[in-house]
Symmetry: C2
Amino acid sequence: MPPRARRLAEVAAAFTPMPEMPFAIAVPGGSVAPDANWRRLGNRVRASRAAAPASYGDPRGVMELRHAIADYVRTSRAVHCEAEQVVITAGTQQGLYLAGRVLLSRGDHVWAEDPAYPGMTAVLDDLDLVTTRVPVDAQGIDVDAGLAARPKARAAFVTPSHQYPLGMPMSMARRNALLAWAQRQDAWIVEDDYDSELRYAGHPFPSLQGLDPSRVIYLGTLSKVLFPSLRLGYVVAPAPLVDAFAGARALLDRHSPTGDQHVLAAYMREGLFEAHIRRIRGVYAARRATLIAALDHHMPRNVTLQPSDQGMHLLLWLPQGADDVHLAKAALADGIVVRPISPMYRVAPRPGLMLGFGGFAPEELEAAAVRLRRVMDRDGSQRRTQPRRAS
Amino acid sequence: MPPRARRLAEVAAAFTPMPEMPFAIAVPGGSVAPDANWRRLGNRVRASRAAAPASYGDPRGVMELRHAIADYVRTSRAVHCEAEQVVITAGTQQGLYLAGRVLLSRGDHVWAEDPAYPGMTAVLDDLDLVTTRVPVDAQGIDVDAGLAARPKARAAFVTPSHQYPLGMPMSMARRNALLAWAQRQDAWIVEDDYDSELRYAGHPFPSLQGLDPSRVIYLGTLSKVLFPSLRLGYVVAPAPLVDAFAGARALLDRHSPTGDQHVLAAYMREGLFEAHIRRIRGVYAARRATLIAALDHHMPRNVTLQPSDQGMHLLLWLPQGADDVHLAKAALADGIVVRPISPMYRVAPRPGLMLGFGGFAPEELEAAAVRLRRVMDRDGSQRRTQPRRAS
């Protein structure tokens, strides 16, 4: 077996889709999936000449969609860009891979948040980059800690709208500190802005990209507000780098299928996209409120909820010493899908579980919270089953 | 600008789609595109529960499609496989990239045919592999030349059905020699079987994969027999490597959009796919015959046609010393798209042009042959404009 193959097989296991049971993350179905409008519009668009079966397209994507995305991120996220800077991707995963390929070379040092999305850190490892994990506190990435550990990194991969997996936004002070570091070091910032559309209270911070468009690669995805199986997202890159992103994309797989790009462009142009987001924001807000109330009611006292005003998941902190990986396995056997967060840390300060609420009706969430409590009581791992000394 | 970015921007330029004018390659439209059956079936399948908007899927692809592909390649190409060995890709380009990632590591030596598909050699370069270009003769890759130049390569990337760009199939003797080498060296063979469905005379050789399934990664594409903008293809990998291919795919972009995978599975299951191939084989055979006759009639005597019984393009050899790159540029200004072959060689023995006939009606092909002759006469580069000594 080739040397890389074993490592890649482990990656495959980590990406195996979870069953669509509460609290799985990213399950759009029923009332949150795009409705018959999406399908009927698709049928109409595919019957048109523009979206009919066609030859190879531009690796940057369909121009009409690039325009629609540029308009959207300018308005909704204060992203500073022209349509020519938008490169359509197959989603955030591909955006991360492309950014790594274009910006960095083997052996380069990069910052990643600690904790972080495993699909991102796996890309950094696969590209043979040297990753410094930078801790996250209530304000987001601790820039001073990064400066102390590895000041001369070439790039930072961050989730400023909604830290993955903890959920807090990066404060304005930290945004400025991170950009100041990048300017001084001539480093790049890769801004994964997933979940930015789903904010339930207060005003969002502007994107990092809008604060310094020359230093930031902005990654957006349609997996959260439309559906993951569509496999569409986008990169907004500084103009001088757009051709390199296009070249990297062409090498990987040429371009995204063009039919759905035309459908999405029409969906956005006709105002259906923004209407859909308004609608699901309301649905998710209600589900979130239900889940928070259910957790308040059903969780033991030593389990606490991480505050967050955004996104499609909540984070439950377990007591010190609990085994979140074991608890997640036990829950799965009971029809509950939770993600343990300790594997997302270099060194986890505390175990925890991610609970997705996006794909489930309020009564399902309520019932699942009761079931999760039962699993906790039976499993015992939410108690301090393996006492450790503080180190 | 990051060091890789400039090189990747050059790759983007090489992948920029050509205008859809004769003799562009891979232009399915009009009577060769899948017809209203494909679209209506798509509308129907997308309205079903299975193909509705969904969450993340398996990086290996939709199981139903993997079964349909396995059935198809077993029957049509003597590929020896189970559905579990099929990994759905975004096309041959991604199949090549995945094979490089899974099988090989930086600095590994590989064989590539000379000449070869530039999108393939660009992948080998991008993965920092060391490529030995192995000459091709009338029987395909010259295995003895490869043995003399670099016996201990780790893999060979070949196009045995229809050498790209020259068009001959690899002889049975060469197939056996290549497999014997791979067995001795414990090396891999990556078999790009593009265009294998489009054979106009005689019996095809069985796939290399069918001759030794343990050594061969088989790459298939739907871009040629359906349409490129669909972005679907497949890898058939030895069973122990399937998880590694899935992991590499997950890292790159998780998986192909699932809607079209369900549509294609239904299209194959209902027999529409094979009927489509039968239909377009007839269309292409007629176009090919028209183009051959037109070239016989209109080309100067010092231009010769490379014999080939397969595929969607023909190869014209130009006289020694002609500048095929310059001639292609001059033709483009006249509304004719030809691909020069000298950039596909390490050292070209002779200049030549690829002429795609798949996307154009017989009368367009006839008229374009006349126009190409006029460009040649005016340009003068089909004559020996830059005399060189034989080296």
